[in-house]
Symmetry: C2
Subunit: 213 residues, 2 copies
DNA sequence: TGTACATCAGTGAACGCGCGTTCACTGATGTAC
DNA sequence: TGTACATCAGTGAACGCGCGTTCACTGATGTAC
């Protein structure tokens, strides 16, 4: 009755990537130790550099896949909005198109770390230049603000920008806020992403209408 | 025309405290180096321990004053709400009572660091136990949720908790979000706290009414 | 006024430790002839 | 089938550096008699 030898071992590169995501999510870039990552991934510290070259490149590797996936999903959702929708319903559809791809990642244990990493990065001012939020994200946000502007033609650009930024801020912080859990006696991690998406969309649609309607 | 010697030198303890606030705000607890703090404060690394004992105690010293001040201001503002107010006006007054003391700190350069520190701490899971968000803050939040419940008696406790948490999340992230600045070509730090307070209060009041009305 | 002692506000050097990164290396597997 | 070579997937030890903290110390100021 000896223990079975593991039949297929997860490749070292993937083990490092998974542990790195966890550490960056929990501690941030600067406070993450590659040696600890390697230890938790049962790998040699040198193999982190063998596969990824540097700490920065490892960080980029962790988030780049999700970034591209989210940008694509958001763009598709924006283009797929029913053109007949008007007013609050249309605003809610636009908000949903932006926040749903992000918040749905809560249900994916591999992706959950990404959510924490991005929430952290928003208020972070001391990351290395190379790994800050890229221009591409802003381009996408501009497209969403334009969509809001078409639906609410009387609102100023400034108000639209601000209302949309508030929406994004809430999308970022709502799933990672650990204080709500303590206050409400709920599990710290959202158990039902679709419910959270609905709640945030409802809250922000009303907020946007109030600020820009 | 020789440079005047400084007549009254800022005490070393205060110089350390000011630089520590800046570093904790910009880098977080783990990534802050006491040696760098000491260097920027033109002090000896040993004097940080001479005055504060340890890194954790220094962190607590940085935030404890603001914490107490905010709790008091919020409580006073809640008790001072005009009892005749009803409906959306009352909700807005409750929201204002909670967020205004926090967001007004934007105008105080010394306190601005505190805003960043707290925004960071909300999504942080790996601070030392001793320096996490204390119970006292949750007690205050309970009082605000009760005030909301009295104004919106048909809403469930869960919805009220969630809507209020969304409000707090936005209060935390709105002033520190650096992405909005890039998107709108605005200065990164809010120049007019009262305007930001009004906008956040308007957005969140509508959101709370939509979720709980 | 003089002198002894106590307190305050630091200082300089060192402690052991973990960090990101480099580099020469090794043993297993694949390919060419 | 045998053998030489190339590639792959790491490894072990070391690099210099900065970290939080400790500790014995110093020089200035205040107090008591």
């Amino acid at each position: 009755m000896a223990a079975k030898p593991k039949p297929t071992r997860v490749p070292t590169r993937d083990r490092i990537l998974a542990q790195a995501a966890r550490h960056f999510a929990e501690r941030g870039f600067n406070a993450t130790s590659l040696r600890e990552v390697a230890r938790d991934a049962q790998a040699n510290p040198a193999s982190v550099h063998y596969y990824f070259g540097s700490k920065e490149e490892l960080y980029l590797e962790v988030i780049s896949g999700f970034r591209e996936r989210l940008s694509k999903e958001r763009n598709d959702a924006l283009l797929g909005i029913n053109p007949k929708l008007r007013g609050a319903r249309r605003i809610k559809a636009i908000v949903h198109a932006y926040i749903a791809p992000h918040l749905r990642l809560c249900a994916d244990p591999t992706a959950a770390h990404y959510i924490r990493i991005v929430a952290r990065a928003t208020s972070e001012t001391h990351y290395p230049r190379e790994i800050q939020i890229p221009k591409e994200i802003n381009t996408l946000r501009e497209a969403f603000v334009r969509a809001l502007a078409e639906t609410l033609p009387t609102a100023s650009q400034e108000r639209l920008h601000k209302a949309f930024t508030f929406t994004v801020d809430l999308m970022l912080l709502a799933p990672v806020d650990t204080v709500y859990a303590a206050l409400a006696g709920k599990p710290a991690w959202p158990d039902d992403p679709e419910k959270l998406i609905d709640e945030v969309a409802e809250f922000c649609t009303a907020g946007i209408m109030a600020m820009c309607g």
